[in-house]
Structure formats: structure tokens, C-alpha cells
């Protein structure tokens, strides 16, 4: 199915043909005007909105940080009340982590990746839009809570039993749990989009070892999101069940354990740090070669180091729990792993230094922010090495030393590189550069302000000042450090303010800078900010720095001499290539402007918001609308049978428009989503066995679901899976009636499986509020049954597609993807009902 890639560009078309091509492309990729502008799904629009929203949330959280600093400026201050202080620091951390640090990179990636990879769009633009609207709504909901004195007030880590105490945390904890679960959905959507985009939508010839480093980093980070966020989602489910229905997962009196939350939270929380940090390094990995005017030294070293960091980051979480009384053997292990992660980090820093040394450096504002960020980050790294040592951490844990450490890491390792990125990439927006002078002033304000604010915190911490205190006594030697910190915080804020001013100041009169103003070697600067089509034609790439190495590349691209110079179908098209060596395999038609994404995101938001307030009817109504919107979206926008299966993509190459199985992006998206889903499920099963390990009799004397019903459920789901395999095979042999019959049988069997799955715990009258064992059994059963129900919807969807002739032997993407879902489903069902039914017998 794949074509060999011609290396030479096609001959140049006559000017009138080119003008007609451009006209068609412009029409296809146009962004609507008026209110419909907001229905746009272009990666440049979504990326921009996403980034702007994340930045605004950051400024809001920054104000909360200033509030905290004012309160702590002098001892025994009464500027804000204890409760407002607790809301402010909780929201500060929560917003910075969930609404700024992670989304800003999804934003940057959505904005930059297509052009960087030399392609038109990411594979699922509507999914990006859905993610953005979910994020925006969830963010406003979480931030807004503080104006109603209803913000979460238990710290961003939400430790139970404080956070499960309804009297203390009120509705705030629900807002945290549900609002952020909603945003996590958006993050996972973005991760799916980025992974599939990077693996399947590169320019032809851009083999995986030629990818820009930014793409490598984002691929790693998206993979990490896929494994890091689901444990938190699983934790959120347990947490919300305890808050809403009094299921005692974290209540020690009824067999629960507060430490389970800490494990799940930090299995998410530590990789989170690297999810934030790696993309910032990715920006540096683009900035440094440009300003050294040479390729990066040690490309494979830095990629290996990034992969290594990604892996190691999942083995460190216990270093947030050194003081919880875990056995010292495990502390020593996690201490060693925490030290080890310094090594790949060091490699990455030295790759930058070596690249600079091997080139001639042009010191500009982006480099200034990059180098300043590194100088700050290295201090954070060194204090990180200190706190990774258990004896030191016993002393420093939960003190201002940690506050200093984490801000050195995150501001040095993330915020400064982001500002470097803003100065570096701003010309992409409207062809104008930001001001060098303002940039330099802003840098020095931020740099000195930051160090003034956070360096003294090391000393305050070593002198015994704990974190998260709204006040402190006057006579214990912390007052001067705090006063200096507060002053520094305001200087730092002034620097950030100056960056904001530089970005938003009107630039009408400012002359345009040349295209590719920094003479970068990668592709992201070659598109024009005036055109929405991304690249004029999709080039053939055979270098890591094609703009430097491939002669006349930019001219040939703009002359339309490469792939897809035209849109004959009147639809948005981009190329799909193979994962490793980027041979083109398909011309993908991506979704265009649509309102369905907004409807789906807002109604899903409605589900989470209504749950917060326990408005059950509204919840159900919103859920039905969400389901309807998603089905409409899929029915009208995906797996459409094309007018012809053989399409001219230019350069004398013809490609299919429809692909299914591993060739298609949809199959990959399903696979990746299910890996994330499986991780959340594994976390729940981890919870089941965690309770088993901490109790002598983990049933607590309560009845289990028996053996009979779980085994019935297991059997029915396995047969349903078999029926799905049969349906796929029958469909492939062009037997639509039998396919439909098999799908119908499979749906009935699944329905039986769902009923039997719930019948076990129901028949034995397991009351989940009495003890943790019945509660965890119910949760695992419900999780499986909900997935079974989704499976039924998918089966009926395939049935409907087949009945309406939208799914045939050749055009079989729907059933292919649904069978893939069922592979995961059958693993889930066998594990769930096997564990629930049989494990109580063998333990």
C-alpha cells in the first residue's frame, strides 16, 4: 500500500494552475468569521486558544501566589483568613500544575507540531478542539470556585482523610476531583492526538531518527501522560465514591487506608514533574541549535536521556512518602532511583553546553531566558539530589526547603524555557518580533526577583519552617527570610507582567520581520502566518535540519512542488506515513470546522459540574447529550466511504483515502486510548490487592460476590468477544446479514454479561458502605460493566453502520476498531471476574 518516495520535487506548475490550487486550498482550510470563528478546529487556532487560556490561568494562579506571599510577609499577619489562605495555596498549586504547566505544552505542541513535521494537520483536529473546550470549561469551573469561597482547601495533593472530611472541605474537594478529572480527560485526548500525530503524520522521508527533538520529547511526554494520568483518575473515582456515597476506601476505621491515595497520587504526581519539565527542555533543544547555528551535538544521547528520564520518573514516587513509615529497604531503593534520574538530566544539560561550545553562539533574548532558566534549574537539581537522600529528606520534607526546591525546578526548568519559547516563536503568530529591550528588562526582573523570592526559602526551611502555614510566630527567626521572599515575589511578578505587556502591546506599526527570522534549521518557520493551510505542499525530508541541508527546500515547498499541492476533493487532506521510515500510505481526510466538538465538550462538562452539586437529573440529561453528540460526530465525520479509493497526492503518487487496521490513524488512537484506560483499570486492581496486603483478612468477614455469578459474567463476555471476532471475519468475507446477526448476538451476550457481573455483589447483599472489601468489589464490577455497556454501544453502532451500508468488506474500519476495543474488554472482564470470583478462594 505504501509508495516509494521520489526524492526530487515535481516540475513547477504554471502560475495560473498554482493560483487555482492556492485558491482551493485557502477555501478548504479557511477559518470561519463571526461567532463561528470559535467552531474552528485548525491547529493554529486551537493551539493559540489553548496557550492563551493556560497563560491566563497561570497569571491568575500567580496572583494567588502573591496573596500567599503578602500574608506571609510578616509574622502573625491578618491580611487574609486562614481558610482563604488554605484555598489560595491549594488553588495556586492545582492551577499551576493542571491548568498551566501541562496544557501549555499541549498547546505549543498542537500549534507547532504539524509545521515542524512538515505536514498540514494533526490527525484528529476535532479531538484537539474537544480537548480545548473541555479544558477551558473545567479550568473556569475550578478557578471560579474561589470567588464563591468554595475552592478546594486541602492542598493540591488532597490527602484523605482531611480531604474526605465533608465538614472541612465542603464542596471544594468535589470541585477539585470532578473538575480535574474532566481536565485529565482533555489531557489524555491531547496525548492520543500527539502520539498518533508524531508517529503517523510526519512528512514523507522523515524517518524516526530524523525527527526534530521537539517531536521526540513530545512523543515521550504524551506516552508518560498515558501511564501517569490514569492512576490519578482511578484514585479520583475511589475518592469521589467515598465522598459521594460513603464508600470507605480511605477510611481506616472501615478497612480503608489513606496511604493508597498517596501511592496513586504520587504514581501520577512524580511523572507529572517530568511531563512538565521535558517539553520545556524540548523547546531548549530547538532554540539552542538555532542560536549556535549548528546541529545539536549528541542527538542520540539526548533522545536516550529523555527516554531514560521518562522511564525512571515512574520509579520515584515513594520519595514523596519518605516520612510515612514505609520500610527502610524500600526507601533505599527509591532513594537510589531518585538519584539516578539526575544522570539523564545531566546528559541533557551537557548536550546543550556541548552544542553551544561546538558552534558560534548568538546571544539573544530566547537564549537569555534559556540560559537563565538552566542556571536556576541546576540549583533545583542539586537540591533535588539532596532531598533524594533519605536522612536529609526526613529533615527537609514538608518544609520551605522543598518549596524552594520545587520552584527552582519548575520555574527554572519550565517557566523560563516557556518564555524563551514565546520570544522565539512569537513571529509565527503575526510575523512580528517581540521587543529585545523589553525582553532583556523582563529577564533581569524575573531572574533577580525569582532568586530573591525563593533562595531565602532554603534557609527558612532549614530553620524549621513547615510548608502550608498561614502564619508563623515572630520569635523563631523566620521573619526576615519571609520579608525578603515577598519583596522578591513582587519583582518577579513585575518581570512576568512586562512579558505580558510585550506580547499584548499593539504592533500594527512595527515592520514585519523576515520569514524564518532566526535562520532555524527545522521546518516550523517556513509557513506564512497569513495562510491557514500550514505548508503549501508536504515536502520530502531527508535531514534533521532540512532548511539548512536541503537546497531550495523552502522555495520548492511554496511553489507546490511536493505532495498535496491541491485539494481536489474540497476536503482537508494530509498524508499518513509509516511509523518508522515515514513512507506515505494514505491520504487522510481530517475533520473540519464543526460545532459538534463544542456541544460534546460542554455537555460532558455539564455531567461533571452537575455531579459536583448532586443534580442527578441534569447529570443524566447531559450524559445523554454527550453520548448523542459523540455518536453524531463519529457517524458523520469518521470512516466515511470515499468517492474513489485511489487518489492523486501529487509527485506522481497515488494513495488510498481509506485505511483500516494498523495502517489507519483511528486504529492507533483506539489502541493508545485503551492502553491509558487499561492503566486506570490496573490501578483499581492494584487497589484491590493493596487492601489484601495490609489486612490479615481483607474481606473483614464480609461476604464476597460468590463464584457462580462472576463466572457466568466472565463466560458471557468471552463468548461475546468470540462473536465479535466472528462478526469481523464474516464482514471481511462480505456476508453482511451474518455479520449483523453476529453483532446482535454479541450485544445480547454482553448485556447478559453486564447483568451477571452486577448480580454477584447484589445477590450476596454486599453493602459497600460497611467495609472496604465490598466497596472495592463493587467498584471493580461497576468499572467492568460500564466498559461492557460501552462495548454494547459500539456493537450496535457497527450494526447500524452495516445496515445502512456504511460498513462493508472493504470499508471495515468501524468493526476493526471495535474488535480492538473488545480485545481490551475481554482482558478486563477475565481479570475482573477471575479476581472477584476466584481470588477469595485461593488467598
Amino acid at each position: 500500500m505504501s509508495a516509494n518516495v521520489p526524492l526530487a520535487p515535481a516540475p513547477e506548475a504554471p502560475p495560473e494552475i498554482r493560483a487555482a490550487q492556492e485558491e482551493r486550498l485557502r477555501k478548504v482550510w479557511t477559518t470561519p468569521s463571526g461567532w463561528r470563528y470559535w467552531t474552528s478546529v485548525n491547529n493554529t487556532e486551537i493551539g493559540l486558544w489553548y496557550g492563551a487560556a493556560a497563560f491566563i490561568f497561570m497569571l491568575f494562579a500567580g496572583l494567588l501566589g502573591l496573596m500567599v506571599r503578602v500574608q506571609l510577609a510578616v509574622p502573625e499577619n491578618t491580611f487574609i483568613s486562614a481558610d482563604l489562605f488554605n484555598q489560595a495555596f491549594t488553588l495556586h498549586g492545582t492551577i499551576m500544575m493542571f491548568l498551566f504547566a501541562v496544557p501549555i505544552f499541549e498547546a505549543v505542541a498542537i500549534y507547532l507540531l504539524p509545521s515542524m513535521l512538515g505536514t498540514r494537520e494533526l490527525p484528529f483536529p476535532r479531538l484537539s478542539a474537544f480537548g480545548f473546550w473541555s479544558f477551558a470549561l473545567g479550568g473556569v469551573f475550578v478557578c471560579g470556585s474561589i470567588f464563591f469561597n468554595a475552592a478546594p482547601n486541602t492542598g493540591w495533593f488532597m490527602y484523605p482523610p482531611l480531604a474526605t472530611d465533608k465538614e472541612y472541605s465542603g464542596i471544594g474537594a468535589d470541585i477539585w476531583l470532578l473538575g480535574l478529572s474532566f481536565i485529565e480527560v482533555a489531557s489524555i485526548a491531547a496525548a492520543v492526538e500527539l502520539i498518533v500525530g508524531i508517529m503517523k503524520c510526519r512528512a514523507p522521508g522523515m524517518r524516526i531518527n530524523l525527527m526534530p527533538l521537539f517531536a521526540w520529547y513530545l512523543l515521550i511526554v504524551a506516552g508518560m501522560i498515558l501511564f501517569a494520568f490514569p492512576p490519578l483518575i482511578a484514585g479520583d473515582i475511589l475518592f469521589e465514591m467515598e465522598r459521594m456515597f460513603d464508600w470507605p476506601f480511605f477510611d481506616a476505621a472501615r478497612g480503608g487506608d489513606p496511604l493508597l491515595w498517596q501511592h496513586l497520587f504520587w504514581i501520577f504526581g512524580h511523572p507529572e514533574v517530568y511531563i512538565i519539565f521535558l517539553p520545556a527542555i524540548a523547546i531548549m533543544a530547538m532554540v539552542v541549535p538555532t542560536f549556535s547555528q549548528r546541529p545539536i551535538v549528541g542527538y542520540s544521547w539526548i533522545v536516550l536521556a529523555a527516554v531514560g528520564t521518562g522511564f525512571l520518573s515512574f520509579g520515584l514516587w515513594v520519595h514523596h512518602m519518605f516520612a510515612t513509615g514505609l520500610p527502610q529497604m524500600s526507601l533505599a531503593f527509591f532513594s537510589a532511583a531518585s538519584e539516578a534520574v539526575a544522570i539523564p538530566t545531566g546528559v541533557q544539560i551537557f548536550v546543550f553546553i556541548a552544542t553551544m561550545l561546538a558552534g558560534r553562539v548568538i546571544f539573544s533574548v530566547p537564549m537569555l531566558f534559556g540560559a537563565g532558566g538552566l542556571a536556576i534549574f541546576i540549583i533545583g537539581g542539586l537540591t533535588g539530589v539532596m532531598v533524594a537522600l533519605v536522612p536529609f529528606d526526613w529533615q527537609a520534607h514538608d518544609t520551605y526547603f522543598i518549596v524552594a526546591h520545587l520552584h527552582y525546578v519548575l520555574i527554572g526548568g519550565m517557566l523560563f524555557p516557556v518564555v524563551a519559547g514565546i520570544y522565539y516563536y512569537y513571529p509565527l503568530l503575526d510575523g512580528k518580533k517581540l521587543s529585545d529591550r523589553l525582553g532583556k528588562i523582563a529577564f533581569w526582573l524575573m531572574f533577580t526577583g525569582f532568586n530573591t523570592a525563593f533562595f531565602p526559602m532554603h534557609f527558612a526551611g532549614l530553620r524549621g519552617m513547615p510548608r502550608r502555614v498561614f502564619t508563623y510566630p515572630a520569635d523563631v527567626g523566620w521573619d526576615w527570610f519571609n520579608m525578603i521572599s515577598t519583596i522578591g515575589a513582587f519583582i518577579f511578578a513585575a518581570g512576568v507582567g512586562l512579558v505580558v505587556i510585550d506580547v499584548v502591546r499593539p504592533k500594527k506599526k512595527q515592520p514585519r520581520c523576515p520569514e524564518n527570522p532566526w535562520n532555524a534549521g527545522t521546518l516550523e518557520f517556513i509557513g506564512s502566518p497569513d495562510e491557514k493551510w500550514g505548508v503549501r505542499s508536504v515536502p520530502v525530508i531527508h535531514s534533521r535540519y532540512p532548511v539548512w541541508d536541503q537546497k531550495d527546500l523552502v522555495e520548492n515547498i511554496s511553489a507546490g512542488r511536493y505532495f498535496l499541492p491541491d485539494s481536489q476533493s474540497g476536503q482537508r487532506e494530509t498524508l499518513v506515513t509509516t511509523v518508522l521510515d515515514a513512507r506515505p500510505v494514505q491520504c487522510l481526510r481530517v475533520g473540519g470546522t464543526s460545532v459538534v466538538t463544542i456541544v460534546a465538550a460542554l455537555s460532558l462538562g455539564g455531567v461533571f459540574i452537575a455531579l459536583t452539586f448532586h443534580w442527578w437529573l441534569v447529570t443524566i440529561a447531559c450524559a445523554v447529550i454527550t453520548l448523542g453528540a459523540i455518536l453524531y460526530w463519529l457517524w458523520t465525520g469518521t470512516a466515511t466511504i470515499p468517492e474513489s479509493d485511489d487518489y492523486d497526492v501529487g509527485m506522481g503518487v497515488r494513495l488510498p483515502v481509506y485505511a483500516s487496521g494498523p495502517d489507519s490513524v483511528g486504529w492507533w488512537a483506539m489502541f493508545i486510548t485503551m492502553v491509558g484506560d487499561g492503566t486506570a483499570y490496573a490501578s483499581l486492581i492494584f487497589g484491590y490487592f493493596f487492601y489484601w496486603t495490609i489486612h490479615d483478612d481483607f474481606t473483614g468477614g464480609h461476604a464476597g460476590p460468590g463464584v457462580f455469578w462472576p463466572m457466568v459474567a466472565l463466560t458471557l463476555f468471552v463468548i461475546a468477544w468470540g462473536a465479535m471476532l466472528a462478526a469481523r471475519s464474516l464482514n471481511a468475507h462480505d456476508r453482511p446479514r451474518l455479520t449483523q446477526a453476529a453483532l446482535g448476538v454479541a450485544a445480547l451476550l454482553s448485556l447478559g454479561g453486564c447483568a451477571a457481573g452486577l448480580a454477584g455483589p447484589f445477590a450476596y447483599e454486599m453493602d459497600p458502605t460497611l467495609y472496604v472489601y465490598p466497596a472495592i468489589v463493587w467498584v471493580v464490577a461497576i468499572w467492568t460493566v460500564v466498559h461492557g455497556a460501552v462495548g454494547i454501544i459500539m456493537q450496535l453502532y457497527c450494526l447500524a453502520r452495516s445496515l445502512t451500508g456504511r460498513m462493508t468488506a472493504r470499508y471495515d474500519m468501524d468493526i476493526d476498531n471495535v474488535v480492538l476495543y473488545w480485545h481490551f474488554m475481554v482482558i478486563t472482564a477475565v481479570t475482573s471476574f477471575g479476581v472477584l470470583g476466584l481470588f477469595p478462594l485461593v488467598r
Binding site: 516520612a323 527502610q328 538519584e339 544522570i343 558560534r360 542539586l382 502555614v469
Partner: protein, 288 residues
């Protein structure tokens, strides 16, 4: 470690600045790779290995392993409550010898073993001058041992965020010579058998229901909800490290505990006549 860190920082940032300097000859790619290997891999591996080895060697010295602790029975059971500390001195059989709150006395030069519990939410037990912290987690008993080396008075704040007044939850630690400690311990054990003399404040204490929550040895007050107030007059602070121990402060706290310590469980008694509150405060302040 700090000096080492400072040197490494200076070296790396110096190298960074030098690299950013325009007027110099670019180095070869080969040299650059050696730099990555040396600076990014070899050097940190050696330094980190040494640091880790030292830390792992240190761990059991600071905190003897669990089996070793089993012979060394806890002498004190500390329970974190919102927002104060219940402290029980245990006898050799592990039973409570006496209970006190928010002020700990320890003998110098000896290892004392603590059993740490939490009554409501997670707290963390930390005496910064004596050693590292250990969390107090509902449903789990943690063990910690500390060996003070100098006599003196130390402040010990709660180190895990535990609610509205987390900042106002501390206790004081008085490290004393062994004979002084023994004398104090003995007198506390005997306090239960020594009836407290009559006092107008004593009568008011009972009339206004204070005894429902508080215990005072030598009186019929055996409330278990709030802190034990036996000999509260000899403590350094009141309200878990929040206020200096003066008669006025005791009266203030009785009048409006919530204003001093937001989220506190104790109800305000501002509706009592001033004279009553002052009498109670005077009596409590005099319990030594």
C-alpha cells in the same frame, strides 16, 4: 553537600557563560561528545554513588530498623489531633502511666521511642532540633526514636497539612537531665492521687461543663475529648504552641478560641461573665 553543590553550580554555569561567549573557537564534535560523556554521565555517576552510599549507611544509624525497635518498647505514645497533641507516657507494661498534652519532656542523652498515631487526619511529628519527621496516619502505628544530646527547650511544629489551623499546631519539648526528668515523671504519676485544693475557679470549671472535655488529675474532671490540662500552669505555651502561657491568654482562649485558632473544636465561652472566665483562667494558670 552545600559546598559541593555550589562548586558544581559555579562550574556548570561558568561553562554555560563561556559557551555563550562569542569570541572563541568552536570545539570539534568529538570533543563535545567527550564533554557530554564526562560531564553528563561519568561525573554524576561517581558523585551520586558516593552520596547514596553515605546516606544508606546513615539511615539505620538515625532510625534503627524495626526489629531492633521491638525490644525497645515505646515509652511515649503521641497522637495528633486537630490541632493539638495527645501525649501518653507509658509504663514498662505498655500501659498509660499518665497523659499530658502539647508539651513533651525527655531525658538527655538517651534514645526515647515513640509510638505515633492520628485521631482524625494525617499529622506529622517533627522536632526539628532533634531529628527528622515521621507522619501520623490514621489506622497505622508508626514508630520513631530520637536521642536528644543537649538540654533545652525546643519547638516542634506539625509538618503535614492538617486543616485550617495547621499553622497553629506545635508543641514544646523540654530536654532535661535524667534525675530531673525522673522527679518530674514521678510527680506526674502521683498527681492523680493528690486532690487539688478548693478554688473559686475550680468550682466554675465544673459548673460550666469544662470537665466534659478536659481531664485534670486530682479532680473529678476526666473528659477525654480535649487536651489533658493537668498542671497546665507549668507549660511554656497554651493552645498547642500558639500563645504564651499567661492568665490573660488563657482567659482569651476560653472566650474566643475560634478567633485565635480558626477551625478549633472547642466552643467559645464568651457568653460567660468575665469574672467567671478570669477565675477559671487564674485557677488553671496556677496548676503547677
Amino acid at each position: 553537600m552545600v559546598v559541593g553543590g555550589a562548586i558544581i553550580w559555579a562550574l556548570v554555569v561558568g561553562l554555560l557563560l563561556y559557551a555563550g561567549h562569542a569570541r572563541r573557537e568552536p570545539i570539534t564534535a568529538r570533543k563535545a561528545s567527550w564533554l557530554i560523556l564526562g560531564g553528563g554521565v561519568a561525573f554524576p555517576v561517581i558523585v551520586l554513588f558516593c552520596l547514596l552510599a553515605y546516606a544508606v549507611w546513615l539511615m539505620p544509624q538515625i532510625r534503627p530498623f524495626m526489629p531492633a525497635l521491638m525490644d525497645n518498647k515505646p515509652q511515649i505514645e503521641a497522637t495528633g489531633e486537630q490541632f493539638w497533641w495527645r501525649l501518653r507516657y507509658l509504663d514498662d507494661g505498655g500501659n498509660t502511666a499518665f497523659e499530658t498534652a502539647n508539651e513533651l519532656r525527655l531525658p538527655v542523652g538517651e534514645r526515647t521511642t515513640f509510638r505515633l498515631k492520628a485521631a482524625d487526619v494525617i499529622h506529622s511529628f517533627w522536632i526539628p532540633s532533634l531529628g527528622g519527621k515521621m507522619d501520623m496516619i490514621p489506622g497505622r502505628d508508626n514508630v520513631l526514636s530520637l536521642e536528644p544530646t543537649k538540654t533545652g527547650v525546643y519547638r516542634a511544629p506539625c509538618a503535614e497539612f492538617c486543616g485550617t489551623s495547621h499553622a497553629l499546631m506545635a508543641f514544646s519539648v523540654i530536654v532535661m537531665e535524667r534525675p530531673d526528668f525522673d522527679a518530674w515523671r514521678q510527680s506526674r504519676i502521683e498527681a492523680a492521687a493528690m486532690p487539688q485544693p478548693a478554688h473559686p475557679g475550680r468550682d466554675l470549671f465544673f459548673r460550666h461543663g469544662c470537665a466534659a472535655c478536659h481531664t485534670i488529675a486530682g479532680t473529678p474532671a476526666i473528659g477525654r475529648i480535649g487536651p489533658d490540662l493537668t498542671r497546665i500552669g507549668e507549660r511554656q505555651t497554651i493552645a498547642a504552641g500558639t500563645l504564651a502561657n499567661t492568665k490573660d491568654n488563657i482567659a482569651r482562649f476560653i472566650r474566643e478560641p475560634d478567633a485565635i485558632k480558626p477551625g478549633v473544636e472547642m466552643p467559645a465561652f464568651g457568653m460567660l461573665p468575665d469574672g467567671d472566665i478570669e477565675a477559671i483562667a487564674a485557677w488553671l494558670g496556677g496548676l503547677k
